[in-house]
């Protein structure tokens, strides 16, 4: 574990800080890659170093946790004297797979899985301990994935596609979907019970009816209505109606 790899790893935690419509997370990727490129200045001169830094900050987009794979792979490719146009092609080729794998594995898998378990546990008696458990468990997976990505990219270089086909990664992607579905399923009645438990008896019937109507509205108006706007409209309307009635 070299200090420059650690420096790059730490910078990857803010890889999206300069997210923009032209280069997406490209500037952040360049910032994270820069420590790994410093030896190029010593061995091959400043011009080669600046050219590599410039390439590192070009357009790039992927899941933030997996961006390290591209950072490591392209930095390694610079040391391996791979022609610049091939490095650009590697970056472009990694965008799609790293984005879709990360979305499937993390945003649509690990995160809702751990969150669902935490909501269910919090409501069923664990309270704030469930929140601590959520942070510890989620980040154990998060940190492991980030570190694996950077190490895999740095060791594979241009052959980084092999790392994406690692059996453990494929197995994880396969297993998280059903586990997430179970955990999210657990959270729904638990969350509903927690929210309706503070209501008086008569309002619980309103709760159930409004949930069914809200789900129907969200399904029917899926392109124009989201949960926040539905919630805001429903709360304001209910408050106004309540003031009129009472």
């Amino acid at each position: 574990m070299t200090p420059r790899l650690v420096s790059s790893f730490l910078r990857l935690f803010v890889v999206q800080a300069s997210w923009n419509y032209d280069r997406m997370i490209g500037v952040g990727v360049g910032v994270a890659e820069e420590p790994l490129l410093r030896d190029i200045a010593r061995t091959e001169g400043d011009a080669a170093y600046h050219a590599a830094v410039g390439r590192g900050a070009g357009f790039f987009n992927s899941h933030p946790y997996l961006a390290g794979l591209a950072v490591g792979a392209t930095a390694r490719a610079e040391y391996d004297h791979v022609p610049p146009e091939q490095i650009e092609r590697l970056r472009a080729a990694l965008c799609g797979p790293l984005g879709s794998l990360g979305d499937r594995l993390v945003w649509a898998g690990w995160l809702p899985l751990v969150s669902g378990l935490a909501v269910a546990a919090a409501v069923l008696g664990a309270g704030a301990t469930a929140v601590v458990g959520f942070l510890v468990l989620y980040n154990a997976g998060h940190l492991a994935l980030r570190w694996w990505a950077l190490r895999a990219g740095w060791s594979h270089g241009m052959r980084v596609a092999a790392a994406l086909h690692a059996p453990a990664l494929q197995r994880a992607a396969r297993l998280t979907a059903p586990a997430m579905a179970v955990a999210a399923g657990l959270a729904l009645p638990a969350g509903g019970a927690a929210l309706s438990s503070v209501e008086p008896e008569w309002a619980r019937a309103v709760f159930i009816g409004a949930a069914v109507a809200g789900l129907a509205l969200l399904t029917w108006m899926r392109t124009t209505l989201d949960g926040a706007r539905l919630g805001l409209a429903a709360t304001v309307l209910a408050l106004a109606l309540g003031v009129l009635l009472w």
């Binding site: 280069r23 980040n139 399923g185 929210l195 009816g209 969200l218």
Partner: protein, 226 residues
């Protein structure tokens, strides 16, 4: 009434939470369950923090934060909701928290677009230095991005906290009536509907739907047994 000291602490916490959403470190303190519980603990009202954390966590299930997609920002919103609901008996606290938090969440989501456009303009202005591989230009652009998002998160949290103060002052009379229970029921129902909608979208119509159904059955049993 919430003290000025508590408001200051919540402003700092909301700003950190807002940064965690996109800028980093993305350790999920921006999740409403975490943001709300910690906010409740900070003001000495952990039960309200956890309840509002669950409410907005369910709303969050309707969001898939992919690429440049636009979505409400529930982290600072939950912090503002806890400040608004702090010390108010349920279900009125839930109604007030939902109202303040949802409004803040919508504004927070829109503010992300503003920062992205500012970042884009800054990157365009720095293209020659970026193409030349100037590491100081890279670092400066990135640091400015962090500063912009910090200012954004602080502004959204401050707006939410102000909204909470105004709502407490103006809706005080209404909160003592059954209208508050009706509003709380509507907010909770919308959260549950959003969560079911988001989960169904995530799970799809394949074999995972059966796993979700199994989870719902087990969850219902566990709630009933509790």
């Amino acid at each position: 009434m919430i003290s000025a000291g508590d408001l200051t602490v919540l402003l700092v916490w909301g700003t950190v939470v807002g940064l965690d959403l996109v800028t980093g470190p993305q350790v999920m303190i921006a999740r409403p369950l975490v943001a709300g519980t910690v906010a409740g603990w900070l003001v000495g009202d952990a039960a309200t923090g956890l309840l509002l954390g669950v409410l907005f966590e369910l709303f969050q299930y309707d969001v898939l934060p992919v690429g440049a997609s636009r979505y409400p920002e529930y982290g600072p919103a939950t912090v503002a909701a806890v400040a608004a609901a702090h010390g108010i008996a349920e279900p009125a606290g839930l109604a007030l928290g939902a109202l303040v938090g949802l409004a803040t969440g919508v504004v927070g989501g829109a503010s992300l677009g503003v920062v992205r456009r500012r970042n884009t303009a800054a990157v365009r202005a720095a293209v020659p230095r970026l193409e030349a591989g100037d590491p100081r230009a890279l670092a400066a652009l990135h640091a400015a991005g962090v500063a912009r998002d910090t200012a954004r998160a602080a502004a959204v949290t401050a707006l939410g906290l102000c909204l909470g103060l105004v709502a407490r002052a103006t809706l005080g009379g209404v909160l003592a009536t059954p209208a508050a229970a009706l509003a709380a029921a509507a907010a909770g129902a919308a959260a549950l509907a959003a969560a079911i909608n988001g989960t169904l979208r995530l799970v799809g119509r394949g074999p995972d739907l059966r796993w979700m159904a199994a989870g719902v059955v087990v969850g219902t049993l566990l709630v009933w047994l509790r």
